[in-house]
């Protein structure tokens, strides 16, 4: 259904054809000037090198445009002129002053750093734009964290405080994030802080559309690219699959940054002596982003026995015995979620273990990792937040309950869910390949091809329900 509403993104500065991200600190514009305001190329890297910090905001509006939450961009000065002329505001027109936190968000929200000097992005919103947000009926401040799924709840303190400081009403602020627990979590936060006035929060999903876009191109044998990377990629098609062929491995699991759940699971698979059932990637030398010890485990669970089992196993990491495993690309630090698709590992293994971004962290967030097995015709187990499978199913995708015990998805306790997952993977690892082959054959048409088609078609489907749900917040 064609919507009659119009949703605009407001921008403050445009130079040489480049829209500068709202909320940037103008004192640090020198580097951009030297590049004639070209935001592309190695700007972010140079910025980091120059100021020892990330740029605080960025233009990442794909999540808004993909989900029909944005129609077009207009400059704030044009709306300000109409506002000062007292033009009547059309009830079907909505204006969003979008600020997109970048660099982990700490600079954006004013955590002490060389770049922002402790000032959050509110300080860098021009007065004229603040006035618009404050006074113009249908203009809102949209904090777009839709490209990430986990936040620091102190950011809400920053938002509430600066809302008061700069006289921007809380009801004029909306926080968008790829976290489908945000409403509950923000509600809990407000109860804890005794906040009666609240901002609006809205969960969104960037990864589905983006991966759909990539797989559609691959399916139609077009070249894809991601930044400066341009690899020869491939996707499994129906005719690629020989249903009678026995595959080499039970499981396929990609791990780049060794977040805690990935770290622990590799230790457990090693302990269970089932790593030979995997095509698995990990590199403890270059991708170890987590320091595992007794203290750090406190954030993840209370089962000391289980912790000690893991710590015992960790000695192999520390000694270098458990070091590195690769599947298709050797240079793991430079492998990304897009444009690194090779169909072969999927065609030679049965079950994908999705090692999502979040597991012990807050936020029900589905990244591009979730959609990979669906695009490549593979059943999967979700090593991610509770409720992930339910969320996936809400988009029409099918999962594998019956053959795989998916009760793990309902277990909120992270440590318990993790143990359940390990147990289930261990059980499946003991199944003969013949059984896996037959099962695969049985779900091929009804589930795997269905999922792939739904995924590839997703970017073109009508998303007006998402748009209407979003706009309902402002009606």
């Amino acid at each position: 259904m064609q919507s009659t509403n119009k949703i605009y993104k407001l921008y403050d500065y445009k130079v040489n054809g480049n829209i500068l991200p709202n909320g940037f600190n103008p004192e640090f514009i020198q580097l951009l000037m030297e590049r004639d305001f070209d935001l592309n190329g190695d700007f972010l890297q140079k910025f980091q090198e120059t100021y020892n910090d990330g740029f605080n905001v960025w233009n990442l509006d794909g999540v808004l445009t993909d989900n029909m939450l944005l129609d077009e961009s207009i400059p704030t000065h044009k709306l300000a002129k109409r506002h000062s002329n007292h033009e009547i505001v059309n009830n079907n027109e909505f204006y969003f002053y979008v600020v997109t936190p970048f660099g982990g968000g700490s600079s954006t929200f004013g955590y002490p750093s060389s770049y922002s000097s402790g000032r959050p992005f509110f300080y860098f919103i021009p007065e004229s734009s603040k006035k618009l947000i404050r006074e113009h009926k249908n203009t809102y401040l949209l904090i777009n964290y839709g490209n990430e799924g986990s936040l620091d709840f102190h950011w809400f303190d920053v938002i509430h405080y600066n809302s008061k400081l700069f006289d921007i009403p809380l009801h004029k602020i909306i926080f968008v994030i790829s976290d489908f627990t945000i409403e509950k979590n923000y509600n809990d936060y407000c109860i804890k802080r005794n906040h009666t006035e609240r901002i609006k929060v809205f969960p969104t999903l960037w990864s589905l559309n983006s991966k759909s876009n990539e797989y559609e191109q691959l399916y139609n044998e077009q070249k894809t690219s991601f930044g400066s990377f341009s690899n020869e990629c491939s996707i499994c098609k129906k005719d690629d699959i020989d249903l009678d062929k026995e595959r080499d491995k039970h499981f396929l699991m990609f791990n780049r940054r060794l977040r805690p759940h990935r770290y622990y699971s590799i230790l457990m698979f090693d302990k269970l002596d089932i790593l030979d059932k995997f095509y698995i990637s990990y590199d403890f030398e270059t991708c170890k982003t987590y320091e595992f010890n007794e203290d750090s485990y406190k954030h993840h669970g209370r089962d000391k026995g289980f912790r000690d089992e893991l710590l015992e196993q960790d000695k192999k990491v520390l000694s270098g015995e458990l070091n590195k495993s690769i599947i298709d690309y050797d240079d793991l630090p430079n492998v990304w979620g897009f444009n690194f698709e090779q169909k072969e590992p999927y065609m030679d293994s049965y079950i994908h273990i999705i090692s999502e971004t979040n597991f012990f962290e807050n936020g029900l967030y589905l990244s591009e990792k979730t959609w990979k097995p669906m695009g490549q015709l593979q059943p999967f187990i979700m090593m991610g937040p509770a409720g992930s499978l339910e969320l996936i199913k809400s988009y029409g995708f099918k999962t594998f309950d019956g053959f795989i015990d998916e009760s793990y998805d309902t277990v909120e306790n992270n440590e318990e869910r993790f143990k359940l997952l390990i147990n289930e993977i261990e059980r499946l690892s003991k199944l003969p390949k013949e059984e896996l082959k037959n099962w695969y054959k049985s779900i091929f048409n009804d589930i795997l091809l269905h999922n792939q088609k739904l995924l590839i078609d997703y970017k073109n489907i009508d998303k007006s329900n998402v748009r209407n749900k979003f706009l309902d917040l402002f009606r």
Partner: protein
């Protein structure tokens, strides 16, 4: 007639609108900081008229004025340079315009700035690759400057930095003899021309619009308009036949322009003070001068301020550029104009010469030599019926002033009835002059001057 589209180009779109060109790149970070603190548009009077320093913190924002405010017109568009279409890049006249403010004229700006720092590399590339892209400096707020060689040297540096062709760098100035000054510079430096200098008369071009606006605002049974809480009036034709009680009107206000002080002194010395209405306010410069000059002390400093309708010099300074009230004009027969400058080296005509035309007055002008000649060239009538106008070519300022005062005395020696008769004989000229101001506005002469300069 302007037959080609003109695009005024900008580099920065900001929350206040397009940032006027002319900011040095090195000042951009602080300028953006300042912009972030403001709520007005760049065309807001506080910024455009440059009250910045006095009322709010607009210093950086008033570094240049918005040129579109000056040249608003259908076939003139505002564009961000990188938003130009292929056709616009190839076919339109594309202008980076850098304008003066009331605080800073182009002379001051060029002398104090690094002229190679006005544009981004992208803009410089457009200029280098397309001869229909030009940089135009517009000195529309003041004029009558001694442009020193260092001024042209800096423009030359700008031209060399980008590799401009001579017709890609244009300087529009109210200094009517700019080409004489520029040619002298070229001779001095033994250089070929690297830019186009175009004399203009912004004070003349804008007067007709004010008259048209005034007449549109005046309603039946009302003979005045109000701007910023001040009432103004200009005479109707049927009001000018009445007899008047004084001979002349001489509005001088600012005595810092020292030639005006000497003019009033000469009028006093010749017993003409009571023959007309004279204004002249106090100034530090004249007070200082009177320490050496006993005559100035006795005739001026001991007696001034001389006022006509308002006593407050700051209030008078803030009044409309072209209008006050009709009373003093309708009670006198001619104007003695103390122009902004009376020096030999340049030629600068301001609203002071225009006011007598709006108020149906013949005039005698203490200004730069050849002022009358320039006015006649522009299509205005002068008044040999009243005065021997050979004073217009006298190079020496003192001799010119003495000649003028002698001519004024000649008229003042006549009876008021005789002057009234003389006035009647020049009425067609008076009507022509006011109408001609309107014609200049309606014929879009201001735009044509710009177009001709950038179309060379």
């Amino acid at each position: 007639m302007i037959g080609r589209n003109i695009n005024f180009l900008y580099e920065f779109e900001t929350p206040l609108g397009y940032l006027p060109m002319g900011y040095q790149q090195k000042n951009i970070p602080l300028t953006l900081n300042d912009i972030n603190e403001k709520e007005f548009e760049f065309t807001h009077p506080l910024i455009y008229f440059g009250y910045a320093d006095h009322k709010t913190k607009f210093r950086k924002l008033s570094e240049t004025s918005d040129v579109f405010y000056v040249y608003e017109k259908d076939n003139i568009k505002q564009k961000i340079v990188t938003d130009l279409t292929y056709n616009e890049v190839k076919n339109d006249l594309n202008i980076f315009a850098i304008t003066a403010t009331h605080e800073q004229n182009i002379l001051q700006k060029i002398l104090s700035d690094d002229t190679t720092d006005y544009l981004t590399q992208t803009s410089k590339k457009y200029l280098k690759e397309n001869s229909n892209f030009k940089i135009v400096f517009i000195d529309d707020k003041e004029g009558g400057f001694d442009y020193p060689p260092s001024f042209f040297d800096k423009l030359n540096r700008l031209s060399d930095d980008i590799g401009l062709q001579p017709n890609q760098l244009v300087f529009l100035t109210n200094t009517a003899n700019i080409n004489e000054i520029y040619n002298l510079y070229l001779k001095l430096r033994q250089k070929d021309s690297f830019m186009v200098c175009e004399p203009s008369h912004f004070f003349i071009y804008d007067a007709g619009k004010c008259i048209v606006d005034y007449l549109a605002k005046v309603k039946e049974n009302k003979n005045w308009v109000t701007y910023d809480d001040i009432d103004y009036s200009i005479p109707h034709l049927d009001e000018i036949d009445n007899k008047r009680s004084k001979y002349f009107l001489s509005m001088n206000r600012n005595s810092e322009r020292i030639h005006r002080t000497y003019l009033v002194n000469d009028l006093i010395k010749n017993d003409l003070f009571d023959k007309g209405y004279i204004s002249l306010f106090e100034s530090y410069r004249v007070n200082n001068l009177s320490k050496q000059n006993k005559e100035i002390k006795k005739n001026i400093v001991d007696k001034y301020p001389f006022t006509i309708d308002h006593d407050d010099k700051h209030f008078v300074a803030s009044m409309h550029n072209y209008f006050n009230t009709s009373d003093s004009w309708l009670n006198t027969y001619f104007s003695i104009v103390g122009e902004t400058s009376a020096e030999l080296r340049h030629l600068f005509i301001t609203e002071k010469c225009i006011r007598p035309m709006i108020y149906f007055h013949p005039f005698i002008i203490l200004g730069n030599p050849n002022t009358l000649k320039e006015l006649r060239r522009l299509g205005f009538e002068t008044f040999p019926e009243f005065f021997d106008e050979s004073y217009d070519t006298i190079p020496n300022e003192t001799k010119r002033r003495e000649f003028i005062v002698k001519e004024v005395k000649k008229i003042c020696d006549m009876s008021l009835d005789e002057v009234h008769e003389l006035y009647q004989t020049v009425k067609p000229k008076l009507i022509h002059n006011r109408n001609h101001l309107v014609t200049i506005f309606k014929d879009e002469v201001k735009h044509n001057v710009l177009f001709n300069a950038i179309n060379k």
